[in-house]
Symmetry: C2
Subunit: 387 residues, 2 copies
């Protein structure tokens, strides 16, 4: 299981296409009803509220309820119901401009996918593997548009900061190449705006296409099945959930132990910029273990949610945010260096992109430093709050 | 006096030309003898050894000897003797290749200049102001060649590091544009090599010219006077040295208090790169207070030496080194961005120079962080060791 996760197969929100799209998820009628706001969908909110009450009763003060497949089923039903509700809101609000429902869709898709992964031995294996893969595809597809928009905003904000401007980033920073930016910085901003806006537009079309595809309808059907009747294995009730959650936590701890934390704890170690000017893909290989820990930390969080732990260690939340920033900065740095390879750009533009790349790589380093601090503070706290 | 120092007038090794080069320093014969290894020069080593013994006897265990003009005269004589000895060694070893004597010349010139500044009220004012200005000119002129060489080495080492190479920097890194560097990094290295080698060669010629000039002979004469007979004021013996040294320390403390130390103490504050892409000279104005503290810290050290304190607080030494690195990194960053403004360079070269600039500005930030730590550790220790 550890091996499987370290290659990020499905499980933790990594987009992956499954060549075999038929199978157990295809074309159930219950799902269609849920999609169109039918009986399954309407019943769900109440069911979820009941489920949460049950969770609350079972776990006073954030404790762990007595393990069992019933808790797992309850959690999955609640998430599936949230997914279907977000989907309905998304349809109602018009597909063009609905960031909140889209975010809720991604959020619940990640939780369902992660939970199916962690507690796989308790579930119908082939059915849940199938749904998990498809949910990963969906959340990956939906996330991309948002990611490009965020990346552009991050880079334009950084350009403003590098120019010493305290003014907020204008919506069209690149449209006014005068102001406080040098010509190079303004041109770099315009170039990034062009490239990332194009990428975002494409991602938007892809997401729209995905949401209208039969592949997506099959996913929604699968989630609708989950909302009403979680396909547990016959012997599932004999198991407690805690050992599976502990397994995830152990994998997380192992992965963190393999990180160069001592080095990351020394500020200004200049590690993140090593290979910044080498031609190979060294930065990616340097970042990969951190990205992996980010996914495992998320998996750990979802497993704790399934267990009924409601107060996830705030230090771990901080650690998780640090790794989100790590990922964002790493991708922004890559976008800057990729933009610098655009043919026929002016040297001043390339220079600004170089400064921007290095700035974002230092943000990567700063995030590692922040992660180390948060992780250490979490140390004892998490040992107490978890069984 | 404080105002005077904050504009770095002479005092602490800042090169400054004095339009009025005649005056009391001009053409004494004692200096000429010292220069050519005459009587004044030969007598000096013994005199200095005696002086050091006297210092040692007066200040057992690094304590402060009883204040007085005699200590000041002894310190200045010893430094002047060292200066003349370094000058002789420099002549003997051939002017072309003598880094050690040149360094000793700068070292003693800075000490004499700083001491004349700190204890100015005890000395013949116009004479010592004159010599101080001329010593600042000399040490500035001599320092430049070395500075360009160091800057080039720093930048080429950084380029290697950014390319992820652990191999030592080859003497002619730029001559082999293949290897582990990308084309852009190799071209950036070659460009910097060309520009800084040219600057170094020019600085070398200027230094040679300076060492052969009548202006320099006048300086050497002035120092030779100092080596035999320090021109103290008549009432000098009525004063203790400690109050003047304490004044320097107070100015240092004030200048440090004005630094943004809280911000500098937060790692990865991204302060040093603010204005990195603005067109004005904002980085210089941001760095200036730190450079000023660097000079005051040096002045403080020399004042302590004159007082006979032999164990200068190692934390202050570390703080001083941090500010040296701060200055070096700031100037290297400026050299990288200046090279990026070379007409008709390739975008890849400009990109590499941008990364390099940002890297060196982060080194600036790291140096501030290091200074803050060292200064805080020095806090109590220096309060104990100083009177």
């Amino acid at each position: 299981m550890c091996r499987r996760c370290s290659s990020t197969r499905g499980g933790a929100g990594v987009a992956q296409r499954n060549p075999d799209r038929g199978g157990p998820l295809g074309g159930g009628s219950a799902g269609r009803e849920a999609l169109s706001g039918g009986a399954g969908g309407r019943e769900a909110p109440g069911a979820r509220a009941a489920g949460l009450e049950a969770l609350g009763a079972g776990a006073p003060g954030g404790g762990v309820p007595s393990g069992g497949a019933e808790d797992l089923a309850r959690y999955l039903r609640a998430q599936a119901t949230d997914f279907l509700r977000a989907l309905r809101r998304h349809r109602e609000s018009g597909v063009e401009d609905a960031p909140a429902p889209a975010m809720a869709l991604r959020r619940t898709a990640r939780r369902i996918s992660g939970t199916l992964h962690t507690f796989r031995p308790l579930l119908d294996a082939s059915w849940s593997d199938e749904l998990r893969t498809e949910l990963a595809w969906l959340s990956g597809t939906l996330a991309r548009e948002h990611a490009y928009a965020e990346r552009l905003e991050r880079l334009l904000t950084a350009l403003q900061r590098l120019a010493g401007s305290t003014a907020p980033v204008p919506a069209q920073a690149s449209a006014s190449p005068t102001g406080q930016l040098t010509v190079g910085a303004a041109k770099a901003g315009a170039l990034l705006d062009r490239q990332l806006t194009l990428a975002r537009t494409r991602a938007h079309s892809t997401a729209l296409q995905a949401l209208g595809s039969s592949r997506f309808h099959a996913v929604a059907d699968g989630v609708a099945v989950l909302a009403s009747d979680v396909p547990l294995r016959k012997d599932a009730s004999a198991h407690r959930l805690a050992p599976f959650a502990a397994d995830v936590e152990a994998r997380l701890t192992d992965a963190v132990r393999a990180l160069p934390l001592v080095r990351a704890g020394h500020p200004y170690n200049a590690e993140a910029l090593v290979h910044g000017l080498s031609s190979d893909t060294a930065p990616e290989s340097q970042d990969a273990p951190w990205h992996q820990v980010r996914l495992l930390l998320r998996l750990h969080r979802y497993a704790q949610e399934a267990l009924g732990v409601r107060d996830f260690d705030p230090h771990l939340v901080a650690a998780s945010h640090a790794l989100d920033r790590h990922r964002d900065a790493a991708e922004a740095a890559a976008a800057a260096s990729s933009a610098a390879r655009t043919p026929r750009i002016a040297p001043a533009t390339a220079y600004a992109l170089g400064v921007l790349h290095a700035d974002q790589r230092h943000e990567v380093e700063a995030s590692r430093f922040a992660f180390k601090g948060a992780w250490q503070r979490a140390g004892s706290a998490s040992a107490v709050s978890l069984s």
